[in-house]
C-alpha cells in the first residue's frame, strides 16, 4: 500500500520522460495525481496498523501531511495541465524584465513534478529519521529544476540560491541526526538508533546535552527548508521566479514537509524531558519569522514575493504553535492544512494575473475584479482567508493557537504574534485591494493578455471552498487525526 503510493508517481515519472505527446503527458500528470489522491483517501478511510519497528508507515501526523500534499498536487496538476497547454513554443520574453528565454523540456518538468510527489509521500511515511533526511534532501533536488522552468538569468539565480542554501542546511541536519544517534547509544557505543518510535519510547535514557545539540542542528537544517528567519533567504526568490504552480506546491506542500521533520524531532525532545528547551527555541524562531515577514509584507512591490513572505509568516506561526505545545499544537497542525489550501489557491490566482497582466508588479495591475471576475473575486476572498479572518479555517486555527498562548500564561508571545498578524493584515489588504479594485495602468487603452478560462480558476475555487468549509465545520475523521497527532507529537487535543 505504502509502496504503491510512492512507486506510482515514480513509475509515472519514468513514463512521462519517455512519452512523445505533450497532451498525453499532461493527462498522465492529472491521472497520476487523481490516483494518488484516491489511494490517500483509502488510507484515510481505513488506516492499517503499522508495525512498531517499521521504517515506513503513516501514523496520524503522517496521514495529515500526506493528505495535504495529495490534495494540493491534484489541484496543481489540473491547473498545470492547463497552463502547460498555454505555454508558447520557442523564444519568448520574460514578464517585467523582457529577458528572452526558452522553456525547459516539458517531459523533464513533468517528471520532476511527479518525483517531487513521490518524495513528499516518502517524507510523510518516514518513521526513521535517516529515511526522512534522505527524502527531504530528495525533495530539494527534484524541485530545483522546476524553479528553473523558464530558462532565464533571474530564475537561474533563484535556483542556484535555493539549491545551495537548502543543501547546506540539510547537510547540517544530517549532523543533527548523527548527534541524535550519540544521544541514544548505550555506554558501550551500541544501540544507537534513528527509529522515531524507539527514540520516543526510550526517551528517559537519552543523553540530554547531546539531544539538545542534535535538536539545534536539526532545527537549523530543516528550518532552512521550512523558511524560518534567518535561514529563509532562498524562499522569496524561489517563490517569485518559479512558475506559479510550482510556487503553490513549494509553499503549500514542501514547507510543510520540513515542518514535519522538525515536529518529529521536537516530539523526541519532549519524550527526553527537554521539551521546554526545544519548545522555547521554536517559539523564538517562530516569533522572529513572523515579525520579520510582517515587515516585508508592507509595501511589497511584487505580489508573488508578497505571497512568499506571507508563507514565511505562516511558517513562523506553525513553529510558534508547535513550540507552545498542548492545544496550540493541534492548532498548528490545523493551520498547516488551512494555510496550504489558501496559499496554493492564491498562488494559482497569481499565476492567472501574471498571464493576464504580463507583470508581477503590484503597480502595473488593477481592476482585477473587472478583467478577471473569478480570479479577482478569489483574490479578494483570499486576502481575508490568508490573514485569518472568519469564517475561514485559518481563523479557527490561529484563534486556537493564540488562545492556548494566553491560557499558558505566555501573554507576551501572544501579543507579539498578534502585532505581527495585524501588520501583515494591513499590509496585505492594502495591496490586494489595490490590485482587485484600484485603477489599471494606462487608463482606457488597457487590455489584458489572456482572458480568464474555466480550467484556470476551478482548482483555486475548490481549494478556497475547502478552506471555507474547514472554517465552518471540521470533519470528524480530520479532527480525530489532528487530536491524535497532537498527542503523538507531544501535545494533547483540545
Amino acid at each position: 500500500m505504502i509502496a504503491a503510493l510512492i512507486l506510482l508517481p515514480i513509475g509515472a515519472a519514468v513514463v512521462a520522460l519517455l512519452m512523445e505527446s505533450d497532451v498525453r503527458r499532461r493527462r498522465l500528470l492529472v491521472g497520476t495525481a487523481a490516483a494518488h489522491l484516491g489511494l490517500t483517501a483509502l488510507y484515510w478511510c481505513n488506516p492499517p496498523t503499522v508495525a512498531a519497528d517499521a521504517w515506513l508507515g503513516f501514523d496520524s501526523a503522517g496521514r495529515i501531511f500526506l493528505g495535504i500534499s495529495s490534495v494540493l498536487f491534484l489541484a496543481v496538476a489540473f491547473y498545470g495541465a492547463y497552463r502547460l497547454g498555454r505555454e508558447q513554443r520557442g523564444r519568448q520574453a520574460e514578464v517585467d524584465t523582457g529577458m528572452p528565454f526558452i522553456n525547459a523540456p516539458e517531459a523533464v518538468y513533468t517528471a520532476c513534478l511527479l518525483l517531487f510527489l513521490a518524495m513528499m509521500t516518502l517524507v510523510a511515511a518516514s518513521r526513521h529519521l535517516g529515511v526522512l533526511w534522505v527524502a527531504l534532501e530528495a525533495t530539494t533536488l527534484t524541485t530545483a529544476p522546476l524553479i528553473y522552468f523558464h530558462r532565464q538569468p533571474r530564475s537561474l539565480e533563484a535556483t542556484w540560491k535555493y539549491l545551495l542554501v537548502c543543501s547546506v542546511g540539510i547537510a547540517l541536519a544530517l549532523l543533527g541526526n548523527f548527534l541524535l544517534v550519540v544521544a541514544s547509544a548505550h555506554a558501550d557505543g551500541s544501540g544507537g538508533t534513528l527509529v522515531i518510535r524507539e527514540l520516543v519510547a526510550r526517551g528517559a535514557e537519552l543523553r540530554a546535552p547531546w539531544m539538545k545539540a542534535a535538536f539545534v542542528f536539526l532545527l537549523v537544517g530543516y528550518g532552512t527548508k521550512m523558511g524560518l528567519v534567518p535561514m529563509h533567504t532562498w524562499l522569496p526568490d524561489a517563490h517569485s521566479e518559479a512558475p506559479s504552480l510550482v510556487s503553490a506546491l513549494l509553499s503549500g506542500a514542501l514547507l510543510n514537509c520540513a515542518f514535519l521533520g522538525i515536529l518529529r524531532t521536537h516530539s523526541i525532545c519532549a519524550a527526553a524531558g527537554i521539551g521546554d528547551f526545544s519548545g522555547n527555541l521554536l517559539i523564538v524562531f517562530g516569533l522572529i519569522s513572523m515579525v520579520f515577514a510582517a515587515a516585508f509584507l508592507v509595501n511589497q512591490a511584487d505580489y508573488k514575493r508578497m505571497l512568499a513572505y506571507s508563507s514565511i509568516e505562516h511558517m513562523g506561526l506553525l513553529a510558534l504553535g508547535a513550540g507552545l505545545g498542548g492545544a496550540a499544537l493541534y492548532g498548528a497542525l490545523l493551520h498547516a492544512v488551512n494555510h496550504s489550501l489558501v496559499k496554493a489557491a492564491l498562488f494559482m490566482v497569481a499565476g492567472n494575473f501574471v498571464a493576464a497582466y504580463r507583470t508581477k508588479l503590484v503597480g502595473q495591475t488593477g481592476r482585477a475584479l473587472h478583467w478577471l471576475p473569478v480570479s479577482g473575486g478569489l483574490w479578494l476572498l483570499g486576502v481575508f482567508a490568508i490573514t485569518g479572518s472568519p469564517p475561514f479555517g485559518t481563523f479557527v486555527s490561529e484563534f486556537t493557537m493564540l488562545r492556548a498562548a494566553f491560557a499558558q500564561g505566555r501573554e507576551w508571545v501572544a501579543v507579539v504574534a498578534l502585532v505581527a498578524l495585524g501588520v501583515a493584515f494591513i499590509g496585505m489588504t492594502r495591496t490586494f485591494l489595490c490590485m482587485a479594485l484600484g485603477p489599471e495602468p494606462g487608463g482606457g487603452k488597457f487590455e489584458i493578455a489572456e482572458k480568464e478560462q474555466r480550467a484556470a480558476v476551478i482548482p483555486a475555487l475548490v481549494l478556497m471552498g475547502m478552506s471555507l468549509w474547514l472554517g465552518l465545520w471540521i470533519p470528524g475523521k480530520l479532527h480525530q487525526a489532528l487530536a491524535h497527532a497532537a498527542r503523538l507529537l507531544g501535545g494533547r487535543g483540545p
Binding site: 530528495a138 533536488l141 537561474l156 539549491l163 547537510a171 547509544a185 547531546w210
Partner: protein, 216 residues
C-alpha cells in the same frame, strides 16, 4: 589500527589546509579527489576490522568522491574554461591563517566534546569539524560556482568523517541513500553551473544579485 587512523586523519587535515590555499582549480579538484579517496578507508579503520558493510560503504564513497566527482568537476572546468579563482572574496593567505585558527578551535572543541564511549581516534571529531568548516568557508569565500560545488562536497566529507563516530548505528541502506542524495545534488549543481556559464558568460556567483527587495 589506531596509528593508521591517526595518519589518515592527519592527511585529511592537510588536504583541508591545502584546499584553503590553492588558487588553481585543477589543484583543488586533485586535492578533493585525494581527500575523497582517503575518506573511503575510514569506515574500515573505524570498525577495526573489514566487515562487508564497511567495505561496501568505503568502496562506494571512495569511487564516488575520489573518482566520479573529481572527474565531473574536471570535465566541467575544461568545458567552461575556468582555470583559477581570480580575486576570491577572502585571499589565500588570510584563508590559511583563519583556517589555522579554526583548526585550533576544532581541537579545543574536540577535547571538550567527550563521547560517552571510546572514540575510534581522538583526532576524529576535530578533523570532521575542521573539514566541514573548510567546506562551508569555501562556499562562502569563493566566487566561482564551481568552487562552491567543491566546497559542498568538502562539507559533506566533513559530515561523513563525523558520522564515523556513530558508524555502528547508521543502517547501511540509509548511508547509501545519503550518498545517492549527495551524488544527485552534485550532479544537479553541475548542470546548473553550465547554465550559469551560458547565461552570464562566466560563473562568478557574486554577479547573481538581481533578486533583492524593492518597495513600492
Amino acid at each position: 589500527m589506531q596509528d593508521w587512523m591517526g595518519n589518515v586523519l592527519i592527511a585529511l587535515i592537510l588536504t583541508d589546509l591545502l584546499l584553503l590555499g590553492s588558487s588553481q582549480l585543477r589543484n583543488a579538484i586533485r586535492l578533493m579527489a585525494v581527500q575523497g579517496f582517503v575518506l573511503g578507508l575510514l569506515p574500515w579503520l573505524a570498525h577495526g576490522k573489514l566487515t562487508g558493510a564497511a567495505l561496501l560503504m568505503g568502496a562506494t564513497s571512495a569511487v564516488l568522491k575520489g573518482g566520479v566527482f573529481p572527474a565531473l568537476l574536471r570535465w566541467a572546468s575544461r568545458e567552461i574554461h575556468v582555470r583559477r579563482e581570480i580575486e576570491p572574496l577572502v585571499g589565500y593567505i588570510p584563508s590559511l591563517l583563519i583556517g589555522l585558527g579554526v583548526l585550533t578551535g576544532a581541537f579545543v572543541a574536540g577535547a571538550r566534546l567527550t563521547l560517552p564511549w571510546a572514540s575510534p581516534s581522538p583526532l576524529l571529531i576535530p578533523t570532521g569539524l575542521f573539514t566541514a568548516w573548510t567546506g562551508l568557508f569555501l562556499i562562502m569565500a569563493r566566487r566561482k560556482a564551481l568552487t562552491q560545488v567543491l566546497g559542498y562536497i568538502v562539507l559533506e566529507n566533513g559530515i561523513f568523517i563525523l558520522g564515523m563516530v556513530v558508524v555502528e548505528a547508521m543502517p547501511l541502506l540509509v548511508e547509501l541513500g545519503v550518498l545517492l542524495d549527495v551524488f544527485a545534488g552534485v550532479f544537479v549543481m553541475g548542470i546548473l553551473v553550465f547554465h550559469i556559464n551560458r547565461e552570464f558568460s562566466h560563473i562568478d556567483v557574486d554577479q547573481l544579485d538581481a533578486l533583492r527587495e524593492e518597495t513600492l
